[in-house]
């Protein structure tokens, strides 16, 4: 199977597949490469995991607990090992391709943002060696009360994915974006047809319906100005008293990229390992340097930093806010802190 991630700009092929035959398609994909799918975990929680059985695949879910980034930016990874006698040895990476099925538009936007972050100032080889071997089959979704993608302009995606499925009544409308997506389709090309006129009408109707389902709106016009003007607002103080600084909001965020680099040593074998693992900017010693100086010790400053960063911090590099509006942070927060509310308070 050949592989190319380059989306064919301006060119998009639309097909349809009957819902009842999706299983055959996914099995064919899973025969060809590692397939990751969303599955139900708890009462209303979902996770991405290795495909085992089609009946377990979640087709109607809002969000997974952890975004799909962990498949190419794992919570912790060994970069290399070192021994006195053999020197450096960079951990090798398996050759297999991974396809992640069921990724929603906001998370695809999140991946686009991470891709840029891991390219700024030079490509991160550990990120890209995994990322280059991951393809995506996107899936349309309907919003719940936490979804903010419409406000964050991430409710649609025309990039990043290889194939995208829009759920209609009896079929999925299939958008094929890359040559790799085409390779996947051709594994079972007899399952795919051209869309009929009726299906196109249905697609349009569904899009309109979905658009009217968003109950939460966050006004982000002139937010950069407001956050700058309200840099010293007491709102930050107030929320930082409520925040537990547990870091959950960061661990679940599809666009958080921070990490720590540290060494561990296996004394019995005389091997040391260099590890990188996810870190959280809200942690107290995140900006601490030798000699004890901490550039961001104050609670309110740490609380504020995350907001500034999601909304405006990297706008220059990314060309957009780095929040995709996936709603995970608001749903996860044990203190009930909600981004929409914080931004509303700043705007007042």
């Amino acid at each position: 199977m050949t592989y190319s991630h380059l989306p064919v700009k301006g060119k998009m092929i639309f097909l349809t597949i009957e819902k009842s035959r999706l299983k055959e398609f996914l099995e064919a994909v899973s025969d060809e490469c590692r397939l990751i799918v969303p599955e139900k975990k708890g009462k209303s929680t979902y996770i991405f995991r290795e495909y085992t059985d089609f009946s377990k695949v979640a087709l109607e879910f809002v969000r997974t607990i952890i975004p799909p980034k962990r498949f190419f930016f794992p919570p912790s990874e060994t970069l290399f090992s070192y021994t006195k006698t053999e020197g450096l040895s960079v951990s090798s990476e398996s050759e297999s391709f991974t396809v992640i099925f069921g990724v929603h538009p906001c998370d695809l936007h999140g991946i686009n943002i991470l891709d840029k972050a891991f390219s700024y100032g030079g490509r991160d080889s550990f990120y890209w060696r995994k990322r280059e071997k991951v393809g995506f089959i996107g899936l349309s979704c309907l919003p719940d009360k936490y979804c903010l993608c419409k406000s964050m302009h991430t409710d649609f995606i025309e990039d990043v994915y290889d194939i995208f499925l829009y759920t209609l009544d009896d079929v999925y409308m299939v958008s094929v974006r890359t040559a790799f997506g085409d390779d996947l389709i051709r594994l079972k090309s007899d399952l795919f047809k051209s869309p009929t006129k009726r299906e196109v009408v249905e697609y349009k109707k569904r899009i309109m319906e979905r658009d009217s389902m968003f109950t939460r709106i966050m006004d982000i016009t002139n937010l950069a100005d407001l956050l700058t003007l309200e840099y010293k607002s007491e709102v930050w103080e107030e929320y930082s008293r409520r925040c537990l600084f547990c870091g959950s909001c960061i661990m679940v965020c599809p666009t958080c990229q921070c990490f720590d680099v540290y060494d561990t040593t296996d004394l019995t074998k005389g091997i040391s390992y260099r590890i990188r693992r996810w870190d959280a900017c809200m942690r107290k010693d995140y900006a601490l340097v030798a000699g004890g100086h901490n550039f961001r010790e104050d609670r309110a400053a740490r609380f504020r930093f995350r907001y500034l960063h999601k909304e405006i911090g990297f706008a220059e590099m990314q060309g957009r806010a780095t929040c995709t509006g996936c709603g995970r942070c608001s749903e996860t927060c044990p203190a009930g802190i909600d981004m929409v509310e914080v931004v509303r308070r700043i705007r007042e």
Partner: protein, 274 residues
Amino acid sequence: MSLVPEMATLVEKRYLDPHHSLFRFIFDNELKREGFGFRPGQFVMLSIFGVGEAPISITSGPDEKGFIELCVRKAGRVTTVLHNLEENSKVGIRGPYGNGYPVEQMLGGNLLIIAGGLGIAPLRSLIRYALWRRDAFKEIYIIYGARSPENILFRGEMENLVLRNDINCLLTVDSTYGQPWNAHVGRVTDLLERVRMPLKDTSVAVCGPPVFYRFVLNKLLSLGYSKGKIYMSLERRMECGMGKCGHCVVGHKYTCVDGPIFTYWDAINLPEIF
């Protein structure tokens, strides 16, 4: 770009003062040894395997080939283990990182270099760059202050600079603490009054501890230097050095990629700078 360092050998260790030493490294890989180029003001990530990494400015000059030198203060885990290493020990080095001083823009003008304490580390590289092509600059002033005479890093080198008549090198200490000393005693800001060169066309490079910056920057502004021509080197926590880990972010800039050298103007416009 990779988080994997190149192997290098510590070939020489020179005691500077009780807390600082100069370390000379050569890359084990010959291509890297010959091909390693950098700008003054850039830094490397130094690895001691099993201990960790630390960002350290390159203190040798970009025209000196075949080795690099780092001037390091014993500050914590990595730097203390480094101080205890024997010559011929193996370390890892990756880089160079950061923007470095905009030397092309400085060429042809006057240069004012102001260092406090360990702030001399990146500036020594800039000094070497400028002296290597002395004719490419007009006037050059170097002002260096330390706590006491024994804390003047690279003392012999600095005193040789004082003797040169094609540059003005002024040294000062906060107090002599009873040690022999025949240069100025007092603040670096006193010495700034002695600088005699047109403000126009003068680039100023400042590096030192936080309080030092505060005094020097205020003085420079009161003397009329342009905020856009004062270059400072920011220190922040760094884990990757390549704009990925987030630790060094100030406002909306990565100190490791967009800096560590910022003009005073750019720096004051970053939220959370001071």
